[in-house]
């Protein structure tokens, strides 16, 4: 579904990604983990053209999307939930969801709002409350709900568990699995390595802008993992 070939990217002159290859198949959950500064978020940003891409290509459903503008990608079927629950705090829950549906016509929008309410019943209950009054976990689910308004085929999540309590984190990971069961491929960038590897079909571990390891759930037992995180060698 998504193929990243030999990607070099970064910010201005600072190269963060030094030749990354990633392959996402239909209906997969892919976890990207690794220590701070390894370039996890930069991979998502480069898919969404929010950083400088020096070389390499990103192919989505046989189409080269490397040069597409940020606002065009959504039409291709990719949605992105940035780090740190970037919801519109001064708007109501319903308005936030409507914001996610700029590109749709009114009827589709109404149907999608219903779908999102079905997935997250609390959003329907609180639809007229200001988003700032939701709890941290609820805000994160709202941000995910807003991304789902666009019917994505691929959902990019950047550290969705950031600042959540263990309980709401668990709930969120369950929701991510549910969304995936409905046919949405997901790339999740996480600090919380253990839980994300457990829900993921495959995991890529990044170290210093390169893929150091990749594999299924058995990856947690790999001896190299400790070295990557703690630098013992």
């Amino acid at each position: 579904m998504l193929k990243i070939n030999n990607l070099h990217a970064g910010y201005d002159k600072i190269e963060i990604l030094k030749g990354v290859n990633i392959d996402v198949k239909n209906n997969e959950i892919i976890a990207l983990i690794g220590p701070n500064g390894a370039g996890k978020s930069t991979i998502l940003k480069s898919i969404f053209n929010l950083c400088n891409i020096y070389s390499g290509e990103i192919i989505f459903k046989d189409k080269n999307i490397t040069k597409l503008q940020t606002y065009e990608l959504i039409h291709e079927g990719i949605s992105y939930v940035p780090q740190g629950r970037q919801i519109f705090r001064e708007l109501t829950v319903k308005e936030n969801l409507e914001m996610g549906a700029f590109i749709l016509d009114k009827n589709v929008m109404k149907r999608n709002i219903k779908d999102v309410y079905q997935k997250f019943p609390f959003l329907k209950e609180k639809r007229n409350e200001y988003a700032i009054n939701l709890s941290g976990g609820q805000q994160q689910l709202l941000a995910i709900g807003r991304a789902l308004m666009q019917n994505p085929q691929l959902l990019l999540l950047d550290e969705p568990s950031l600042g959540l309590s263990p309980k709401s984190m668990k709930e969120m990971f369950n929701k991510i699995k549910e969304i995936n069961k409905e046919g949405v491929s997901i790339i999740i960038v996480e600090q919380n390595a253990k839980q994300s590897v457990e829900i993921a079909d495959r995991t890529y571990i990044l170290e210093d802008g390169k893929i150091a390891l990749n594999g299924g759930k058995e990856i947690l037992k790999n001896k190299k993992l400790k070295d990557i995180y703690f630098g013992g060698r």
Binding site: Y71, I74, S79, P82, I87, L91, M99, F102
Partner: protein
């Protein structure tokens, strides 16, 4: 006599209202701290003045003033697209100095500091608005239409995108909006109304010179926007009326006019300080100034 005076004040309120509402669209709703607003006002005033002085009918000059200002609004977004907050404020401030310098130095067109005298009073379809009362009615109609249009814009889906850009441009982008284009629309529409306010001003005073369009003229308008509350049209209306009328009693206390000018500035500054301390969102504002 006293009636004439009040009519004059209400005409000023009308013109200030158009300026403040349009500034509200870019500053309050889209979050673009635009200090170039007075330049759009100047472009509109000069366009309308030059056209009507050369025999072009008022209505055409009036629309041309808006449209030319709007074009400059669109253009201003190109170099300032990536700037935010203070940096955008400085860049747009620079733009207003450029426009001021052009009006001052392009003497073959604008007559520089001599200004343009004898601008005709507006006349639409044979009706001439030469008395102040008729001009007041014209101003109220145009201010009313401005209020209505900006209200419709801000309540529409289109207007919600402006607010999304203000709250978080990155997210607006990732949700599929070309924020560069949207910022262009915001500044363009805002500049259009500043331009028609300029046209009204020129034909009301019948004389313009560069000193009518300095940064000092921007301060009261920006004060109105902040005191009325960002992203609130009702607040803008209330604040316009209060801020235009408030310094007026000074005239009757018997201060010489050399003191009234600075006193006005002091009063505006005091209100602004008090508002920022005790009511940081202004009268009816939705968001705080950041």
């Amino acid at each position: 006599m006293i009636i004439e005076y009040f009519i004059h004040l209400f005409i000023l309120i009308g013109i200030y209202l158009i300026l403040a509402l349009s500034l509200q669209l870019s500053v309050g709703f889209t979050g673009l701290l635009n200090l170039g607003h007075v330049a759009f006002f100047a472009i509109g005033a000069y366009t309308a003045a030059l056209l009507t002085l050369n025999g072009v009918p008022f209505l055409i000059a009036f629309l041309a003033a808006g449209i030319i200002a709007m074009i400059f609004g669109f253009i201003l977004v190109i170099p300032t697209n990536k700037l935010k907050g203070d940096y955008l404020a400085l860049a747009t401030l620079g733009f207003s100095f450029v426009v001021y310098a052009v009006t001052l130095n392009y003497t073959s067109l604008t007559r520089g500091p001599l200004g343009l005298p004898g601008i005709p009073k507006p006349s639409i379809l044979g009706v001439t608005f030469s008395s102040n009362l008729s001009f007041l009615i014209l101003t109220i109609i145009i201010a009313g239409i401005t209020y209505f249009i900006i209200k419709r814009i801000t309540e529409s889906q289109f207007g919600k995108v402006f607010e999304a850009i203000r709250d978080d441009e990155l997210v607006a982008k990732t949700l599929g909006k070309n924020t560069f284009k949207m910022k262009g629309y915001s500044l363009g529409i805002s500049a259009f109304f500043a331009g028609i306010a300029g046209s009204l001003y020129a034909s009301y005073i019948t004389f313009i010179d560069p000193s009518s369009f300095t940064i000092m003229q921007l301060i009261p308008i920006l004060c109105i926007v902040i005191i009325g509350g960002l992203a609130s049209l009702k607040g803008t209306l209330v604040a316009t009326i209060i801020l235009v009328l408030l310094p007026e009693p000074l005239r009757f206390i018997g201060f010489p006019s050399s003191i009234i000018g600075p006193m006005r500035q002091i009063i505006y500054a005091l209100i602004l300080l008090l508002i920022l301390i005790y009511k940081p969102k202004g009268f009816y504002g939705k968001v705080e100034l950041t």
